[in-house]
Symmetry: none
Subunit: 479 residues, 3 copies
Amino acid sequence: MKTMKKNTCVPGFVSKLWTLVDSPGTNDVICWSLDGINFRILDEHRFTKEILPKYFKHSNLSSFVRQLNMYGFRKVISIEGGLVKPNLCALEFTHVYFQRGKEDLLEHIKRKISSVRTEDTKISQEDLCKALEDVQQVRGKQDDIDQRLHNMKRENVILWKEVASLRNKHSQQQRTLSKVIQFFASLVQGNCIIGIKNKRPLMLDVSETPPAKISRPCVLSLDQASIAMFGSSNGCNSPSSSGISIVDITDNAKQGTSTTGLSAADGDSVLTSSNFMTKDKQENVKGKDPNPSLTVTGLEDDILDSILQEGGSEMASHQRDVTLNRNDIQCHLDGVDSSFEDLQTLLLGKQFNIKAEFIENLFNPDLSDAEMDMPENAANMELVSEWSGNTTQQSVQESAFPLEDSKGSQHTPAQVLSLLEELCCTLDSDKEVTSSGTPKKGQCPIQPANEDTGTTDLSTAFLEDFCIPFNDTDSTPFL
Amino acid sequence: MKTMKKNTCVPGFVSKLWTLVDSPGTNDVICWSLDGINFRILDEHRFTKEILPKYFKHSNLSSFVRQLNMYGFRKVISIEGGLVKPNLCALEFTHVYFQRGKEDLLEHIKRKISSVRTEDTKISQEDLCKALEDVQQVRGKQDDIDQRLHNMKRENVILWKEVASLRNKHSQQQRTLSKVIQFFASLVQGNCIIGIKNKRPLMLDVSETPPAKISRPCVLSLDQASIAMFGSSNGCNSPSSSGISIVDITDNAKQGTSTTGLSAADGDSVLTSSNFMTKDKQENVKGKDPNPSLTVTGLEDDILDSILQEGGSEMASHQRDVTLNRNDIQCHLDGVDSSFEDLQTLLLGKQFNIKAEFIENLFNPDLSDAEMDMPENAANMELVSEWSGNTTQQSVQESAFPLEDSKGSQHTPAQVLSLLEELCCTLDSDKEVTSSGTPKKGQCPIQPANEDTGTTDLSTAFLEDFCIPFNDTDSTPFL
Amino acid sequence: MKTMKKNTCVPGFVSKLWTLVDSPGTNDVICWSLDGINFRILDEHRFTKEILPKYFKHSNLSSFVRQLNMYGFRKVISIEGGLVKPNLCALEFTHVYFQRGKEDLLEHIKRKISSVRTEDTKISQEDLCKALEDVQQVRGKQDDIDQRLHNMKRENVILWKEVASLRNKHSQQQRTLSKVIQFFASLVQGNCIIGIKNKRPLMLDVSETPPAKISRPCVLSLDQASIAMFGSSNGCNSPSSSGISIVDITDNAKQGTSTTGLSAADGDSVLTSSNFMTKDKQENVKGKDPNPSLTVTGLEDDILDSILQEGGSEMASHQRDVTLNRNDIQCHLDGVDSSFEDLQTLLLGKQFNIKAEFIENLFNPDLSDAEMDMPENAANMELVSEWSGNTTQQSVQESAFPLEDSKGSQHTPAQVLSLLEELCCTLDSDKEVTSSGTPKKGQCPIQPANEDTGTTDLSTAFLEDFCIPFNDTDSTPFL
DNA sequence: CACGTTCTAGAATATTCGACG
DNA sequence: GCGTCGAATATTCTAGAACGT
């Protein structure tokens, strides 16, 4: 009975418990249940006061129970003798490894370790430390990222400025380029008008007929404009057919021509360059009082008519040779004049002031001064037309050719026109593309990351800072 | 005495210890040291067997000692009666807060806690809370960063589009510029050639033929265009042919000149506008066979004047005529000079007309009006051709030349045409390029950093997306 | 006894406890301590079996104790109880508000509420796990962000390169455009000067005197250059002074004028365009065998020579006069023609060379070749001057004018020059601005985020990579 | 929900054993 | 062997929790 040994690895409590439960002498106080899988304390008081002290250093049932619980024993609630005898209501405990006759299972009965302190706590402790480290690490990296992001943000701001700058530059360049092109175009245009007058006749011979895909309005308008302008400015526009000696006529014609040319050179009338013309002519008129003469001005036709008329009268005289010569020379000179005219128109037509202002404009891409062009062009046109005015003078006999020529010449010009048109289209398309983009500038929907605050509202300011400058230009369509 | 109660916060062991040490009845077994700072167990055996069980649930000295140690008591090694009586050798323990008469210090005696659980766990608990807070903070910041990154990504996408746009614009501009230059170049070229022509007659002897590196088509088209335009606009192109003597000659001279212009019209010479000039000169030469004659070109007025004067003297009357003529011619020549002047002014001054349209266009960068250029240009071209067209006036006898001229002129136009064609092609190609490029705009295929997924390979595709469009241009070497 | 009432707010347990402790009938089982601040259970067994059931629904001491604990009662350990024997050892409990005679304090005895501790601890545990998960999650996301940031960084690098590329392109384009404009300007300039010469006489009448805001040096140098060039290339530069009639004078005058023109003009014909001219004139000479005369070529001298010769012949005989006149006129006209030619050449002429080199330069925007412009312009100017050379021919009587003209012409050219100078300045300023901007490039103070290292030092390398390219251009002002 | 009852667990201390220097 | 301590267990007291009222 007392020989019972405490087996290895079996806690004292379990050993003692087994012993006292299994001891037959105390079966009235504590014993196995009927099925042997539980044990009962039949007499609580005696067990506490008699048994417990024998096996343990206390006599507290609670302490015993505590140990039971500590080793995983569970109380069994017996429904049986509930009523009758509360006293009989025995305490009954159970444990899977605590069964009658199965002493070998006792070793599996393990005492609960107080709140898993050692491992569990430590583990969690370690985890927590690790977690803290991780957090710190993450935090550090986050700071790094934050810094990088911030730096990149700054870079991007600069980039935006760069791009904005480039855009502006591009716009300016585009404007400059446009000006150059337009200038060039207008130059060409000017020439056109001038040239028109003189050359018609010869063109006829040329088989080529100009495709009339040209935009007359433009030219005409110019002509008209010039005519109009000069019509008023020139008092001597009335080409009076007169029967005057050749010389006179020639002279007159010449005068007219040269005058015209002269007028072109300097100017005080209307705008600038055009003025002198008026003067010259006026002077001519004055000097040629006797001769109603050919103060051929504005339009070629008039001039031609007058010339023809005169020519007709001339034809009659003897000195005809001389006259002819004169005519010849006259013609030649006229040709020269017209060539000049054309050349001038060609070269510059528009040129006059250009330098002073045009170039300025070119390099002062402030569009504000753009308005200047208008007046200039007008003046230019004027000049041109006036110019052309004096150019033409031809003999009757050659009248036929010119007509034919004009036809022929028409062809070529048409082609040219079409070509130029295309060119313009190209340029225009270019522009258009650009301009079409313009309205969209407002976009730049960048929503710059809010650096410091939580989020988003920077975009507005940002856009304002960067997008506004792009307004005058074109901006590519965003998104 | 026995009433001693367990004070607050003083462990049972310490209380018991104090009691049993301080109890006079056990002074022979356990007592204070003489100085009262230590206590001694004089009779180990009796203490263990008699005293311990009274106060504790055991009778193991070791357990008692264990408790002493557990509460920080230390054994005092007494050197005194070491030898004589080992038995007498009493156990002596000490503790700073365990002194005779100083019962109040007992509360400072703390039991050693094994696994520091309480604090440790609590600390870890606090740490854990802190860690959790940190995590939340980090998470919040991360969200912020994420947002910023995302926003910046968007910005970058826009930036990319901007850059792509700028690149496209640049390309277009470059193309436009190239066209301008080319056009200009061809124009200049044309003129060159033209100028050349006039001199042809003279040139003929000279083996040298103008280097035909020019593209005709272009010029021709221009000529035609101009002709066309002016042909219509000018009703009076018909130079009345007059059968006059001198006049004729003069005419011839003129014709010659004009003829030259004609010849220029067709392009045998290289380019375009230049043609007429050549013609004039050729004709002059031809027409003036007998007369070495001065088909002076340069300045009209002066020349004319001088010519007239001379002519006058020659042809008509002797004195006066001559004089008059001279004056006349002189005047005319002066006029020519002034014309030249004007022309120059024109060239430089150009401004005048430009304004009206040119500037308007310039500053109404709406490309829509850009088309205007075309017509203008066309007109311009026309003018040129027309120019050459009307310039020519010839006598019957000189009809041959004209024909030849016409032939020649035919060539020129053709050449001009080809040139313009080329130009157009360029422009067109430009357009095409542009337009073709346009569709690609949609690209901006920036593959923004993969927002959600992990990583990296975007760069390649990215570059591909953006580099391709730049092909026609120069693209900076990436990476 | 039983009359005791349950006060408000005093839990049943406390009331019952007070009652049973305070009831004198059970003082042998449960009673107040001597001092009345505690209560004792003297007979545990009887208390359990007899008392408890009366007041409570159970007879478990443990349950009772549990309630005591629940209401904050504490067990009092008496030393004495410790030693002797369990039986004697009475259970003693205490509570601050449970004192004998102080029934009113009972209301302060509160039942403990489950302090949710379990949850707390468990939660912390769970929280820890959650925290760990969070950390991992955050870490993962951070890696993602890091990657994205890195990718975007790479994109940005490319963007920077792109922008740099665009800037370079823009600069090149700007340069090209400047060249074009300059070229154009120089062209215009050339014309201006030329024209100036002739018209003076007429100009005189006009009150307007050209503001001499021009910078001679430029033009002059050009002129000189051109003169120099042609002086050598033309063998016939020697203008023989001849005592000839008016014609001579005229010639002389012309010479003077032309000379002036020469001086004023600049030229580029030198290289290319000028050549054919020379040819033409040579040819002319050949064709005009009988007349030694007008081998009017590119150069004035030739013209002068020829004129002089003719003039000489004229002076003598009448017929001759006529003839001479004719010749004279012819010459003059020829001169005009050649002038035209030259003008054309001038205007376009350049092309020859221009194309070869100019355009090349234009499209090889290597600035290194930018210097080429000068020579070209110079050549151009030359041509012009040459041109003007042949244009003017005046009679003796008119010699005065020429002189005046020359003077006058100086003015005009001066003006032109000033204009051009301004133009050049503009261009230069442009360039200068550009160049001046260049040094600033170093800026690009971007401080790209340090990708890998902690922070900042990348900027240097970064800037080097990107800023350098911007050197030649202007770079937007960075911050 | 508040309180009561019961069973179980936590916690501090106590006891014991063993390791270590 | 001795002193100290770690560790497991024991004892005690208190608390947690489930369940019931």
